[in-house]
């Protein structure tokens, strides 16, 4: 159940947080991996690569800025040459920017967040579609968020807009690509302890993250592994009738009305 044997996953933002945990979980489930990472973020793909290889996965890595279509294209081409396919995509790379006063957000600041979080995922999906159509099988997956699709996140309008936009993209592609055997889904994490959420400047910071446990029905903050497990399910052959769906992995926090 939930085996990814003989599948090849391309994961963006794979050097840290949810992307790294998803790479490890996919390797544990038997997938081979093409891992995209962005060195200017200060993370290192090295330990992730060692871990997934220790779990038996064949893996390649590439420095990818998801704003650069050509870099994404090259990684897909390499994956197909090395492994014979690229039939699962986890569009996970994302950034958050604090915007204390919406009236002062510049077009460049807004565009950066939308370009990475929304258009970046679009480019990753786009790079895979023709190949998946040919195979008659594919899994397009994205990391969205509760912030945007179902909840507000004050001082983070661009982030919430990008994550809400992902859901519109997921749903539309799900209808369009369903007949081709390609499912399109997302995972919407709540508060999960990752380098991004632990950044006190642009996100919650360590105290902010820790403080969320109490208002969450399950009384803890999420882990990147919690999110990765939902991706494994959605990527697996057993999720073949699930499309246009977003699994919320938030310990019930949204339900409880915590903000």
């Amino acid at each position: 159940m939930f085996s990814l044997e003989s599948h090849v996953a391309v994961i963006s933002g794979a050097a840290s947080g949810i992307g790294a945990a998803t790479a490890r979980a996919f390797a544990g489930a038997g997938a081979d991996l093409a891992l995209a990472w962005y060195p200017p973020d200060g993370h290192d793909i090295g330990p992730v690569l060692e871990d997934v290889q220790a779990l038996g996965a064949k893996a390649i890595t590439a420095e990818v800025d998801v704003r650069e279509r050509q870099q994404i294209r090259q990684l897909f081409d390499r994956a197909i040459v090395e492994f014979g396919s690229a039939d699962i995509v986890v569009a996970n790379a994302g950034i958050a920017r604090r915007e204390p006063r919406p009236e002062e957000v510049s077009d460049d600041e807004w565009d950066l967040v939308l370009d990475v979080n929304l258009a970046g995922a679009w480019r990753c999906f786009q790079a895979a579609i023709a190949h998946m159509r040919q195979r008659g099988w594919g899994r397009l997956l994205a990391t969205t968020s509760v912030s945007g699709p179902v909840q507000a996140w004050v001082e983070h309008t661009s982030y919430a807009a990008s994550k809400g936009g992902l859901v519109g993209m997921i749903n539309s592609l799900a209808v369009e690509l369903g007949p081709a055997g390609i499912t399109v889904n997302g995972v919407a994490p709540g508060v999960v302890a990752t380098p991004q959420s632990l950044d006190p400047v642009n996100s919650l910071g360590p105290a902010g993250v820790a403080g969320q446990a109490e208002g969450t029905p399950v009384r803890r903050v999420g882990t990147a592994e919690d999110v990765a497990a939902a991706f494994v399910y959605l990527a697996s052959p057993e999720a073949s009738f699930v499309t246009g769906h977003v699994i919320v992995v938030d310990g019930g926090r949204w339900l409880a009305g915590s903000d």
Partner: protein
Amino acid sequence: MHRLAGRRAVITGGAQGIGQAIAIGFAREDADVAVIDVQDEAVGERTVADAQAAGRRGFYLRADVASETEVTGALTAAAEALGGIDVLVNNAGVVSEYTVAQMPVPEWDRVMAVNLRGPFLCARAVLPAMIAQGHGRIINMASQLGQLGGETMAHYSASKAGLIGFTKALAREVSHLNILVNAIAPGPIETQMLAGESPEWVQRKLGQLPMRRFGQVSEVVPAAIFLASDDSSYCTGQTLGPNGGDVML
């Protein structure tokens, strides 16, 4: 890797259809199972035999989930037989077709009693022990008709929408006690329920489905396994939709 190793699960409406497949699927993931259904012993025992063929313990208990006394009796017996209950799957459900204008009141009441009162009674019966043991999973089998609404199925749609609301409310009530409550809202799945539809309906519905096909029971079972396993330990109050894209929520 067996995802439900050592779990003890009760599945209502487990003698046939999706419930039967869940019971057998759970057993194949190394869970012991107790099946509750209104069907005759002979029908229920077939499911149990398949679960036992997977090398697990299986029990059949005949009970109507709409009856408080029968639920109490069956779940007490299930807990004794299994040595406790880790997972409850509220799957028992009934359906019929009437316009609201022509629906007999007893028919509305019957559907509500099985589909909504039943899960409440079963959850109520297992919760004290789940609270005492400090963990539990409750999985409610709703339907996408609880999200979409289905014409000539107002009673069924209302019962399933009610079950989704019940799922969320109970999740808020008990998740902090490590009891996670989630629902599954399948789309059109090839079961006995679908076999009764007209060819015209089938063609129209297939055209509406983004995947251009109905689902298989084997595509619903994994959602239940996911929600019963450690894989979903940060999911609560959720409604998973193996529905071929018919509803996007």
